[in-house]
C-alpha cells in the first residue's frame, strides 16, 4: 500500500514515480513529487521505485499569475 496525497492506494508498490504520474495523467513538468517528505528531482522520476508504506505527495501547479 502506498499513500498518495493522503489516500491509501493498492498496487502502487513497485511502480516508478514516472509510472505513477503517467497513470494519473499528471504533466511531469508541472508537478513536484515528495517521497516520504523528501523532494525527488524530476531527473530521478524514472529510477525511483515506490515501496510498500511509502508516502507520496504530488504538488501540482496550474498556470496564471505573472
Amino acid at each position: 500500500m502506498v499513500t498518495v496525497n493522503g489516500t491509501k492506494e493498492e498496487g502502487k508498490a513497485g511502480l516508478s514515480v514516472a509510472d505513477l504520474l503517467a497513470q494519473r495523467a499528471v504533466a511531469v513538468e508541472n508537478v513536484v513529487v515528495e517521497l516520504n517528505g523528501e523532494i525527488i528531482h524530476r531527473a530521478e522520476f524514472a529510477q525511483t521505485q515506490l515501496k510498500d508504506n511509502d508516502k507520496v505527495e504530488l504538488i501540482s501547479f496550474v498556470g496564471g499569475g505573472r
Partner: protein, 213 residues
C-alpha cells in the same frame, strides 16, 4: 545641520506618518525583512505593492520580460511603462509609493542553476510566476537548496470563480500555497481575482515576518 526633508516634510515625520496605521510593534520587523519575489506580473506587482506600503525594508524582484499592453488588465504597471523591463518599471512604481524601501531589480530568468545565487540573501521566497513548470522548478530547487526559508506560492486565480475558493494552504513546514488550485490561465486572468491571490500571498508573507505563523 539642516533637517532632511522629503517634498518639504521632515523625513522622520514622513516615516512615522506612513506607519501610523500599521499593526502595533510591526515596523522594526517589517523594515528588517528581505523578501525575494520570482516573476513580475499579476501576482508580483500586487504583492510587492502591498509589502512596500507596509514598509517591508528590502524587496528583490526577478523577471526577464518587458511590460506589454496585455499586462495592464491586472498588473500594476502604467500605460507609459509599456516596453520597459518589468522589474525596472515596478521598482520605479514602488519607490514612488514608499521611498524608504530598498528594491533590487534583477532582469533574468530563474533556472535550476541560478536559484542558489538568486535567493541566498532572502528571508522569505515568494513565487509569482504564471507558468506552472516555472512554479514547479522553483519549488523543486528552492526547497532543496534552502529548506530553512519559507516559500510562499500561488496556483489557480483565473476566471471569475468565487473569491472564496481561493485559500492559503500550509502544505508542510516552510511551504505555503495560495489559490484555488484548479483554475487555469487560459480562462482569462483579471485584476480582481488575481489580486485576491496576491493578497493571500502578501498576507502570508506579512504573517511570517511578524511571527503570526
Amino acid at each position: 545641520m539642516t533637517e532632511l526633508k522629503l517634498q518639504g516634510v521632515p523625513v522622520n515625520d514622513v516615516y512615522t506618518g506612513m506607519k501610523e496605521r500599521n499593526v502595533k510593534d510591526s515596523t522594526a520587523k517589517l523594515a528588517a525583512a528581505h523578501v525575494t519575489i520570482a516573476g513580475c506580473g499579476g501576482l508580483e506587482t500586487n504583492i510587492s505593492l502591498a509589502l512596500t506600503r507596509i514598509g517591508v525594508g528590502h524587496l528583490t524582484l526577478i523577471d526577464f520580460d518587458e511590460v506589454e499592453l496585455s499586462n495592464l488588465n491586472r498588473q500594476q504597471f502604467k500605460f507609459s511603462q509599456v516596453g520597459m523591463p518589468k522589474v525596472q518599471a515596478m521598482k520605479q512604481n514602488l519607490q514612488e509609493v514608499n521611498p524608504f524601501v530598498t528594491v533590487d531589480a534583477i532582469q533574468t530568468e530563474v533556472t535550476a542553476e541560478n536559484v542558489p545565487e538568486l535567493f541566498a540573501d532572502a528571508d522569505i521566497i515568494c513565487e509569482a510566476f504564471d507558468n506552472p513548470a516555472a512554479k514547479a522548478l522553483l519549488l523543486e530547487n528552492a526547497s532543496t537548496e534552502f529548506p530553512e526559508k519559507p516559500l510562499v506560492m500561488g496556483t489557480g486565480m483565473a476566471g471569475i470563480h468565487s473569491s472564496n475558493e481561493i485559500t492559503t494552504k500550509h502544505l508542510r513546514e516552510n511551504l505555503y500555497i495560495a489559490g484555488d488550485g484548479v483554475s487555469k490561465g487560459m480562462e482569462g486572468l483579471m485584476a480582481p481575482r488575481v489580486m485576491i491571490c496576491a493578497g493571500h500571498e502578501a498576507n502570508m508573507i506579512t504573517r511570517l515576518i511578524l511571527g503570526a505563523e
